[in-house]
């Protein structure tokens, strides 16, 4: 709680480091009057801090607008389309309708209870922003609100990062953290304009919860703990990643307990946050009673009970003055508590009251689990283990600053720094397990790196400043008596130190500017593509737009019966319902593995077998994505083995080796006969054999895989081509009604 002394001591060097020019006239004026100057420096520092924060806030917003400038104001990728569709429903029909919405357009014929199977935080947030704007007479379209929700919350995250940094280190670290997180690619990748996904608000909620909790632990105040409980509630309402909070916070508490840092403040903070947070989280229907019933949440409860035992023992210790008696009592209590807890857990698990860990949770702890047991999780590219290159890509210099920051944290260990170290290390582990979890680690990495940057720069500048002043006015100037005393010993090797400090400072600024350049480049090149519209460079350097997805979806929307059912691989489900407004068999909410496996089975069967499956599912149209003409590689043929695996996981008639030749996946003449005649192959390559795709190549040359296809004479019996987009990326087939059997 040494806050009284800190701001003045930290503030002025900071303002020097960020804007050395502004502070120097102050030092010259210092001879006028000491008192007025001090106030002025403080005001100036405040002004500087507020304006830096303001600029960072704006920067975080505009850095995410590349996608709007490059393309248009549109929703990106897959899941955001579902979120957009539900938000639209929420704003049109109101909250209760939304809550009770049974969506018959997805998962035909099962349907989906939307209100009970989603995290409503994002939609409610966007709808509230929308209603507020409308109330203020800004008649914006809900789409604009949705598109800009992610950048807006990214901006808010920078503010939280500032306060968090201030809490764990000082204002300088806070400012640096805000600046780093504003442009960190690891975060931008999930929060560009249009990426209207749960993570957009969840990272804000995550950091807010952590910040408030750290603050609560630091102050022991109920109000901060309450705030953190509400932050947690918001997080639960927004994203499934809340499980990270409900496991990290108890772990942190446990570590504090073990390291002997137990205090009344911790007791208040954790109990309030846990109990209230749990009760609030139960209000979210999708989460329900998981906090008391699911294995993933049991750790938090265990720690909660442990805290009670701790407190009880503390009280008993206070009551009993006899140490020996207390020791005995301690032994009995701890044993019985562990025993009772263990029995309760055992009985709960055995009776099925407490559900075991889910596959997703397992796959986080054990990276190889998903590959062996749940192909549907392993098939998603963002669930793959992270490559080193993507760490470098997303963190750049932060990757090197992180260990340095850890060093500083360990050097000045406190409750707050222990928290950030734990957050950093655990989240970095998870980031290594799954690509998408880089996002969760990003705030921690930024904060810890910010500590490294801030502490280094501060040390260097104070070194430089003491140098200048020692010859001038001696030690009367108040830089901080504690520091000047330590500098005295260093003053011996003056010329080398000064130059070294300058060189290091230049180095730091060079690194930081490289970081800024890298972030801008990554944002504009890699993370701003909506992936609905594909762009390529033509032969003359002109930009070619492939808008085939929307062409196909709009065709479906306008030219098919409104009750038509469309079968496609699950990746496109959300987009078809949102843009095409048609019923789909499976979609990106992969809750029913069997249903997806059925589609996978249909795609990998022969046409007449597939026809029976499609008839049983009432399918009217089949949609496939094909990149053979344009060379678009993430098409259905390249995803096909996953369909086989997922289908084969439920229906053993589908065997992966049938589609491979010597363990190799091929589509040319050497492909396996089953492959050449399965439904997916036929639908993708139907009449492709007549087409010349590339000059100097034979007809039917697949540009995505660089081979001439093996089956050019494809006849369809039960399906007919209904529509193929201008670049052949999406092909839609109509399922013919059965012929009369007379």
């Amino acid at each position: 709680m040494g806050g009284k002394q800190d701001p003045t001591a930290n503030g002025s060097p900071k303002s020097e480091s960020m804007g050395a020019k502004k502070a120097s006239p102050d030092l010259l004026n210092s001879s006028f009057s000491f008192k007025s100057l001090k106030l002025k420096t403080k005001q100036q520092e405040l002004l500087l801090r507020v304006s830096i924060l303001g600029l960072v806030y704006v920067l975080a917003f505009i850095a995410r607008l590349f996608s709007v400038l490059r393309y248009e104001s549109m929703i990106h990728e897959f899941d955001p389309y579902f979120n957009y569709r539900t938000t639209l429903y929420l704003t049109e029909k109101g909250f209760y309708e939304f809550w009770n919405w049974f969506d018959s357009e997805s998962w035909y014929p099962l349907g989906r209870i939307i209100g009970g199977t989603l995290y409503p935080g994002l939609m409610v947030t966007a709808a509230l922003i929308y209603w507020t704007l409308r109330f203020l007479r800004f008649f914006v379209h809900i789409r604009e609100v949705c598109v800009l929700t992610a950048p807006f919350f990214a901006s808010n995250t920078t503010i939280v990062a500032y306060f968090f940094g201030k809490e764990i280190w000082d204002t300088g670290a806070g400012l640096v953290a805000a600046a780093l997180i504003a442009i960190c690619p690891g975060y931008i990748s999930r929060s560009v304009a249009g990426s209207y996904d749960n993570e957009a608000v969840a990272i804000f909620a995550l950091l807010l919860t952590f910040y408030l909790f750290v603050k609560a632990v630091k102050t022991g105040s109920l109000s901060w703990a309450l705030g953190s409980a509400f932050g947690y509630f918001y997080m639960v309402s927004a994203w499934g990643g809340y499980v990270f909070i409900i496991n990290l916070v108890p772990l942190y508490v446990l570590v504090l307990l073990i390291t002997g840092r137990y205090s009344m403040r911790l007791y208040v903070a954790y109990n309030c946050m846990y109990i209230l947070g749990m009760l609030l989280a139960m209000q979210i229907r999708f989460v329900g009673f998981q906090h008391v019933q699911s294995g993933e949440h049991m750790g938090a409860m265990g720690v909660f009970l442990l805290m009670q035992v701790f407190y009880f023992l503390d009280w008993v210790k206070y009551q009993l003055n006899d140490t020996k008696l207390f020791q005995t009592f301690l032994r009995i209590t701890v044993t019985s508590a562990i025993l009772v807890g263990g029995i309760a857990l055992g009985v709960g698990t055995a009776s099925g009251y407490i559900s075991p860990w889910t596959g997703r949770f397992y796959s986080l702890l054990d990276p190889t689990y998903a590959k062996d047991h749940i192909p549907i999780i392993a098939s998603v590219s963002e669930h793959q283990p992270t490559a080193w290159s993507s760490f470098m890509f997303d963190y750049h210099i932060l990757l090197f600053l992180f260990p340095a920051g850890l060093y500083f944290c360990f050097k000045r260990l406190s409750d707050a720094t222990i928290f950030i170290v734990m957050y950093g290390l655990t989240s970095l582990y998870f980031a290594g397990v799954m690509v998408r979890l880089i996002l969760v680690a990003t705030p921690a990495v930024c904060l810890i790196s910010a500590i490294a940057v801030s502490a280094t720069v501060k040390n260097l500048t104070s070194l430089l400043r003491t140098k200048q002043k020692v010859p001038q006015t001696g030690s009367t100037k108040g830089v901080g008596s504690s520091k000047s005393s330590s500098k005295v010993t260093l003053d011996q090797s003056q010329p080398f130190q000064k130059n070294g400090a300058i060189a290091l400072l230049v180095g730091v600024f060079y690194l930081l500017s490289r970081y800024a350049i890298h972030c801008t480049w990554v944002t504009s090149e890699a993370y701003s593509s909506p992936s609905i519209v594909l762009a390529a460079r033509g032969a003359h350097g002109n930009r070619i737009i492939f808008d085939d997805y929307r062409e196909a979806y709009y065709w479906l929307r306008q030219n098919t019966p409104t009750d038509a059912k469309v079968m496609s691989w699950w990746d496109y489900g959300y987009q078809i319902t949102a843009m095409g407004n048609r019923t789909v068999i499976v979609d990106n909410n992969t809750w029913n593995n069997t249903h997806i496996a059925t589609v996978g089975r249909a795609m990998s069967s022969y046409e007449d077998e597939a026809y029976d499956i499609m008839r049983s599912l009432d399918v009217n149209y089949v949609l496939v994505v094909f990149g053979g003409v344009t060379g678009y590689s993430s098409d259905d043929i390249n995803k096909f083995l996953w369909m086989v695996r997922i289908g084969g996981g439920v229906y053993p008639v589908i065997k992966e080796p049938d589609y491979l030749v010597n363990g190799e996946f091929r589509v040319d003449k050497g492909a396996s006969p089953k492959m050449l005649n399965c439904l997916m192959y036929k639908l993708c390559y139907y009449r492709f054999g007549e087409l010349v795709t590339e000059y100097g190549k034979p007809t039917g040359y697949d540009r995505a895989r660089g081979v001439e296809i093996g089956n050019k004479d494809i006849k369809l019996e039960h399906l007919e081509e209904a529509y193929t987009t201008s670049n052949w990326i999406v092909r839609i087939y109509r399922v013919k009604p059965p012929t009369n059997r007379l």
Binding site: M74, R137, F138, F139, I545, R557, Q558, L691, A722
Partner: protein
């Protein structure tokens, strides 16, 4: 179906020709020549009539009659009086309005043409009448495949339907190509190239009717806008924002079976000949900020050419339109205010803008034109050269408190000839222009004052 219609038409004809019609026998048509242009899906008929007054009293007006099958598809009737000889012809527009006749045989519809000066006994006048029919080409076969060409029926009468005796008449049908499957023969009738000639017929009694059917190839784009909502928003800060919501459909023979991309892109001339994928919109000159999008985003296939007299927007729907296929889209643009907003002598302001649909060669089934006046406007009134439904609404836009008055003009069956100027008059005090900026200024002022107050007020109970 056609056969039944045919019998019905013959019955009508017999009935009509037998019935005697007493009124307006003072006039007779000396010569009638009718040219019907069937080259697009908008049927244009040019009728040249030489009318003579054979009665004793001067005649102030005359009637044009249309069979009931045509009257509901009749988009427009215009009449001009021709005076002067060949080289020095002058045309005088005449007033034409629909008229009800109590004893109209078989629901025939009428239009009353008022002469510029009453036609005295024994005098004659030459009239040029233009009438436009929509939805009058009936595809047959009703469904075609991608490679087939589109054939349509056109039904009309070989003789002009008229309440007056016609002494001599001819009718020409102009087809878009030389491919004519069949046409009803009413002697003398013959075909030469793209033209079918009926007549000349001598001395036909009033209400003569001789139904004919022409079956021919027509691959012109049957672009039908089922509904068009145009919104013109006036901002006195310097621009007009126009937003047009289209619901377009291909009104020709329905597409049947497969759509093959291979055939469509490699054999374009024979495959999908009745489909269309390029549209042209004629926009005002000095147009700017043009956009073309639909419910799910921007459509990138468009091209704008700006010019001094007009701008042309060439654009393609997301997919080619085959028979029965639909596409909805939005076109929006902005034009400078000074070109379209003027001050009337009496101090009122008026907007002078073009009615109708900017797309060329399209039929609009239902056109709703909304003129959004600035907030604070009063006493709106619209002036149009033809009858439309008028209505008033209120719309809320950015920073509106009382809402903007919207003049709604609604008309069915609109063709390109309806693209004529119209005016909307209203009164507006310029002081209202300042309302919104002042609101913003005061809002910002309030924010700054509160933050100022927040910084300076110490809310702590205990003094530190």
């Amino acid at each position: 179906m056609p056969a039944r219609n045919w019998i019905f038409a013959v019955a009508v004809a017999l009935f009509l020709s037998l019935s005697t019609f007493s009124s307006a026998q003072d006039l007779q048509i000396v010569n009638a020549e009718r040219r019907i242009d069937l080259s697009s899906h908008i049927v244009k008929a040019f009728l040249t009539l030489k009318v003579e007054n054979i009665g004793k009293d001067p005649a102030a007006d005359m009637l044009l009659a249309f069979p009931p099958t045509q009257i509901k598809n009749l988009a427009m009737v215009q009449a001009l009086a021709v005076t002067g000889k060949k080289k020095k012809k002058t045309y005088l527009p005449l007033d034409v309005k629909p008229s009800e006749q109590p004893d109209a045989p078989n629901d025939a519809g009428y239009f009353l043409v008022s002469f510029a000066t009453p036609l005295g006994p024994g005098e004659a006048v030459t009239l040029e009448v233009l009438y436009i029919l929509t939805h009058s080409l009936e595809p047959f076969p009703v469904e075609i495949t991608q490679s087939e060409s589109q054939l349509v029926y056109y039904r009309d009468s070989a003789v002009v339907l008229s309440p007056y005796r016609i002494k001599q008449q001819t009718t020409f049908f102009k087809t878009p190509s030389t491919r004519v499957e069949s046409f009803t023969s009413v002697e003398p009738a013959n075909r030469a190239g793209k033209e079918i000639k009926y007549g000349a017929y001598e001395d036909r009694v009033p209400y003569s009717y001789a139904p004919v059917i022409v079956h021919f190839e027509n691959n012109s784009p049957f672009a039908v806008v089922e509904e068009l909502v145009r919104e013109i928003e006036i901002s006195h800060w310097g621009s007009l924002q126009i937003t047009e919501n289209y619901r377009l459909t291909h009104g020709g023979a329905r597409h049947k079976g497969v759509f093959s991309r291979v055939e469509y892109q490699s054999r374009r001339s024979i495959s999908g000949s009745s489909s269309f994928n390029a549209l042209l919109a004629v926009l005002p000159p000095r147009v700017n900020s043009v956009y073309y999008r639909d419910n799910i985003g921007n459509i990138s296939t468009s091209h704008l050419r700006t010019g001094f007299k007009k701008s042309e927007l060439e654009f393609e729907p997301r997919y080619p339109l085959f028979g029965g296929w639909k596409a909805t889209f939005i076109i929006g643009y902005r034009v400078p205010l000074e070109d379209y907003l003027f001050e009337a002598p009496d101090g009122r302001r008026y907007l002078n803008f073009t009615f109708g649909c900017p797309l060329v060669e399209t039929i609009v089934n239902k056109l709703t034109l909304k003129v959004v006046l600035p907030e604070g406007s009063k006493d709106p009134s619209a002036v149009l050269p033809f009858a439309v439904n008028q209505d008033l609404q209120v719309k809320y836009s950015y920073l509106d408190i009382v809402g903007r008055t919207v003049v709604v003009l609604q008309k069915d069956n609109v063709v390109p000839t309806h693209n004529v100027p119209f005016q909307v008059y209203y009164t507006f005090k310029p002081i209202y222009m300042l309302a919104e900026p002042l609101m913003l200024v005061s809002a910002f002022f309030f924010v700054f004052v509160t933050s100022l107050a927040y910084v300076h007020i110490d809310l702590n109970i205990v003094k530190k």
